[in-house]
Symmetry: C2
Subunit: 352 residues, 2 copies
């Protein structure tokens, strides 16, 4: 009933190396001021014993706090998607606070790249030991990540990726494949001669995320030699009046459209339109487990929602920094989220 002494600690290492535990500690943490000779001797013993530091004791003894910065879009009516990652971040914080980790939040405006720059600047001045960010603006994010790299601050991207950066890791969806899954579901029961539309409701139609999703979507059609042209619909004004006007026109001009794929979480705007105009004949698929979307899923105006576990992304994003900074563990550079399929029938049990 008492702990076995199967694990060796610094004390045993010190005893075997004939040094004090302080010196062992120096070697373990790669601190300077140890002769090469003793350093090697200690490292050999560490390897031999397969020494695993006791994090409990380490964090208990340490007086250092570790502070992390998080840079994400602010939550608004337009962007309530960001509630979920924020919840995940908060959950992670609650869990690791007792290990002396603190998190500071920085919010930017998704309509304003400058706000991203401003907040990024604040983070650089703030002496943080790690950063978690959504690199929504590619150029701005690139600049910021170079600055972090120079300061040797590890940073994790999540929700979307910027390739070729020195980020610790990326946590988020494989967008191409996600679009591919969307196409599979949308065409699963599509009949011949029925046409499909890809709908982008966003101010920025050339956003890299949307492009990847659409590429995946179109690839599915190519790979399966599905006939018919895929219509591309861009709706830049996201208010319901504009959406209604544009969709009405599109459906008038293209009578064969029987399925729509919305490339982001604004799918509920299309569902509202379909409901009002009584078009339950049109299949609809879009993104994200949002209240508004679930409502339409339940009513039957959305067939499937695709979701990439935004809450877990936030949680895992924080933990990736915690694991490197506190536990000294290596983390995978790319951590793709599952591409979850949500229907009216399984939504009640979905974990965001």
């Amino acid at each position: 009933m008492t702990k076995e002494n199967t694990f060796f600690g610094v004390k045993e290492i010190a005893r075997r190396a004939n040094v004090s535990i302080a010196t062992v500690d120096r070697v373990i943490h790669n601190r300077s001021g140890v002769s090469e000779k003793t350093k090697k001797k200690i490292n050999d013993i560490i390897k031999e014993l397969d020494y695993q530091p006791n994090i409990l004791a380490s964090r208990l003894a340490s007086k250092k706090i570790i502070s992390l910065a998080v840079l994400i879009p602010k939550v608004s009516a337009e962007t309530d998607f960001w509630e979920a990652p924020l919840n995940g971040i908060t959950r992670a914080e609650a869990e690791i606070k007792k290990y002396g980790v603190q998190i500071e939040l920085f919010f930017f405006d998704l309509n304003d790249p400058n706000s991203f720059n401003e907040q990024a600047g604040l983070i650089l001045e703030g002496h943080f030991q790690g950063v978690l960010l959504s690199p929504s603006f590619i150029e701005e994010a690139r600049k910021f990540s170079e600055a972090c790299h120079k300061l040797k601050i590890p940073f994790t991207f999540f929700d979307s990726d910027v390739p070729e950066q020195h980020n610790l890791c990326y946590i988020g969806p494989h967008l191409f494949q996600s679009g591919y899954v969307g196409a599979k579901l949308l065409t699963y029961r599509l009949k011949e001669k029925q046409q499909v539309a890809v709908v982008n409701i966003s101010k920025e139609t050339d956003n890299y995320n949307y492009i990847q999703i659409e590429e995946g979507f179109r690839s599915y059609f190519k790979d399966h030699s599905l006939p018919g042209e895929i219509l591309r619909v861009n709706i830049k004004d996201t208010d319901s009046l504009s959406v209604t006007r544009q969709l009405t026109k599109i459906l008038n001009d293209n009578e064969n459209i029987k399925a729509m794929f919305v490339t982001n979480s604004r799918v509920s705007a299309v569902a509202t339109f379909l409901e009002k105009s009584g078009r339950s004949d049109i299949s609809l698929i879009g993104y994200d487990f949002l209240k508004e979307n679930i409502k339409h899923l339940e009513k039957g105006f959305i067939d499937f929602l695709i979701c990439h576990k935004p809450e877990e992304q936030g949680y895992r994003g924080v933990m990736s920094l915690y694991e490197t900074l506190v536990l000294g563990a290596r983390v995978e550079k790319v951590h793709f989220m599952p591409i979850d399929i949500i229907t009216k029938e399984n939504q009640a049990f979905y974990k965001n």
Copy 2:
């Protein structure tokens, strides 16, 4: 950069109560040998300071080890489903070993209720502080859980549930709803006059799990007024020859069958049959993220797999005991797993 002294500990409580920290410790853990007066005084201070014990320090100082028993079916060619929960259990063990938690595994034979009883008996003699079990045999599980209850050993059910027991919690699928989802997917593109079969490949056709799944499946048809009789196919001999023979007969007798729903992970046996007999016209849905099943998913002979995160069930099962026993946290009595939908296109990113 140094930890804030915002939290109060036993020392501060002792100082304010004018007692030693040993006495404070006694009160915190409800141990005997403290006068009512000092007990009340200390408890008042604890409340006033909103004292939160430091688990790190507590586990570090404690020499007690906590040992948990896990009772699950043994993994065999027939039951490789159980590999995943076992992995989750092992992962949990690795994570909490450093907090002084040990896990002992007990395996029973899914074809032999007596083996369950035997192993359960061993557990009862073993002085464990907590038990995680798959109550595959309802009556036997009921007896065992009553014994645990008497001994005041908390126990968690997972994978399947036994209602009305004193279990700490249940972690697993909502089987009825899972069958319901299966029906939705299977009928999503089904055409009129095409018939559906529910296939049960198992020695025990009257297993409570299968019954619940099938009830959910049939309810979907009722709720959506889908016409046509749902054929019930029981295959008691699970070898491939018997499966082939029986399915051949069924399909000969019922030419309109265009969709099959297999109520467990043996769906690959049906897929193999469909492949060999060139019946790619039949939709097929079944359970679980197993190698054999994924293979057929990729070839296109299985349309969808439904999965309830077996690995996470094992992991969360262990953690439910850890959280109550070590952290003293309350856990939810029922923790339903998501009903995940896996297709050829999203399987690469699925987390079991």
